[in-house]
Symmetry: C2
Subunit: 343 residues, 2 copies
């Protein structure tokens, strides 16, 4: 591939001049400018970004680590990040960690070697040592979602305790008392927080906790399906279920239907995430919404703030809190209940 020297030679100028034409057009005479530009076109010269990055110590590349690209939540985050990155002239390296700590760490290593300008970590499983490494290498990073160990970092997150609380409380308000919870993997902080919110709501309403009503899922459709199958086998099956994410809620709905039961008449469901499909399935899913696309945007902007202003990590440490919101639709049986009350 043709390089800057060949361009310089053919244009009858120095490499510095060619470089100037590309990077500081205003410092070069119109005449030379034109000449150089022309030979660039003639030779089909494409500057070598590696060399450029090496000299500049800047790659114009950031990385986005997500646990599972097949969960519709994350493409939304990715789009948010990508949108602002592209606008800023950056590329984004996509790393799908599959919720494997070692894979995430693997990636981290590769990314440091590649000298990415910044990192966005979602639902990270990394530990303090890993973050110490990132900080030592002075790589700006932003986290989406909280994680174990309460790492100091710029962070965009929603309060899952509150979310879990809101979901459960809504079911309680409607009038249910036998409320089950299909949680995500307990190994994840997010799952435990949602569970905590669930418990808090029950407690506040003086509903005693039945441990059999809490089943652990995998945050996938299948997990919701299996969870319901388990719950319905109980001597006293629940009247309502709070699923820790929409995917599991969808699986739950599928399972409930397969048992010949109706939603919400026989079993009410509330999900979490408000993925697009949730408002399109039958019955439309009542769920807790978190604006993930926006979270991606915000995280990326935060990251670029760090990158561009060369902020020390400790300077500004922002924790941006995103409020989860209850989206009332059909699956919770809210309407039926209201009708009942007013008739």
């Amino acid at each position: 591939m043709v390089n800057i020297r060949q361009v310089a030679k053919k244009a009858g100028v120095s490499v510095a001049t060619v470089s100037r034409v590309l990077n500081h057009p205003d410092t070069v005479s119109p005449r030379t400018m034109e000449q150089v530009l022309e030979t660039i076109k003639e030779l089909r010269y494409t500057p070598n970004g590696l060399a450029r990055s090496l000299a500049l110590k800047k790659t114009s590349t950031i990385a986005l680590l997500i646990p599972n690209i097949l969960n519709p939540l994350y493409p939304q985050v990715a789009k948010g990040v990508e949108d602002v990155a592209h606008q800023k002239g950056y590329n984004v390296l996509l790393c799908n960690t599959e919720e494997k700590e070692h894979k995430e760490r693997d990636y981290l290593e590769m990314l440091i070697e590649k000298r990415v300008d910044g990192l966005i970590l979602t639902s990270s499983l990394l530990r303090k040592v890993d973050f110490d490494q990132i900080k030592e290498k002075q790589i700006p990073f932003v986290m989406i979602g909280k994680n174990e160990g309460n790492i100091e970092a710029n962070r965009v997150f929603t309060d899952y305790i509150l979310g879990g609380y809101l979901a459960t409380q809504h079911l309680i308000e409607i009038g249910y008392t036998a409320i089950a919870h299909i949680s995500g993997p307990k190994s994840q902080l997010a799952s435990r927080e949602k569970l905590q919110g669930y418990k808090k709501a029950l407690q506040e309403a003086n509903i005693s906790l039945d441990e059999r009503y809490i089943v652990e899922g995998d945050n996938e459709i299948e997990g919701g399906y299996l969870g319901v199958k388990k719950l319905l086998k109980l001597p006293e099956p629940p009247q309502a279920i709070f699923a820790a994410n929409d995917l599991m809620a969808i699986g739950a709905i599928d399972a409930i239907k397969s048992e010949g039961l109706r939603i919400p008449e026989d079993v009410a469901i509330v999900g979490f995430d408000d993925i697009k499909i949730s408002s399109l399935i039958e019955p439309k899913l009542t769920t807790i919404s978190q604006p993930v696309y926006k979270m991606g945007l915000i995280a990326a902007r935060l990251l670029f703030d760090c990158i561009e202003n060369n902020l020390e990590e400790d300077d500004f440490q922002q924790n941006i809190f995103i409020q989860p919101k209850l989206m009332v639709r059909k699956s919770c049986g809210c309407e039926e209940r209201v009708r009942e009350i007013f008739n």
Copy 2:
């Protein structure tokens, strides 16, 4: 950040030796090896991949261009690509082109500058000149899906004409004659091919084509919704609809329900893609399946073949054809019809 020279100095060896330890461990004495490894750890040295890539003319990075990450089809492709890339020790740059030709071209430019080792293009809008550029720069690439102009390339694709044909033919077999089609943007080859398959099936069955039965959508849920609204206003609304993708089919179902009509009794629906959600909505969607995850895998493997064997583009030009498959579920009314026949 600490560099190879500092490691060499502290370890009391030359930079060449440090480099050897990292890249050709077998050519170095155990003693030196150990020493170097130790100082590497001590100094927390992470090799600079940029410099390495510059010297090696190899970045261990490939790029994946997709039109719309929010369409569940593409995360599947991305996962396929990412899975094999990661296994090969490569990173993947994700580029969301939003079906904008200029954005795709923009990206291409950036990617060439970054000297990616290879490219995977899905549903590309690029033209011959762009591909000429890629070829001239000798960047291996694989295309997923056909595109305008019939570019010579390694390619993994499904026959959309056949897919459209299969979908329509199935509706005809069931007994429908008033069959509408909600197409994707006609500007896209894929949309036109599906339409072509639709027409072919009608023609074969001697059903005359009614142009009012063909409406153009946007491949999004909304497009399907709007399409149905338009179709149902016709003096003789269709009994069945073939939607060019599942997203539009889902929108269509929503619209049909909102009109108080039943599926498939009043209007039958067939989609295209078989995204995961299709088997979970009510009624379960009959659709044409293309194994996109596998297509991603295959495309990536093909790409790495080119990269690793340094194949000339013209050498081996593979066109891998993936068979679309009809998935019969509920939305087409197939069962009802069968029951009718046997009663």
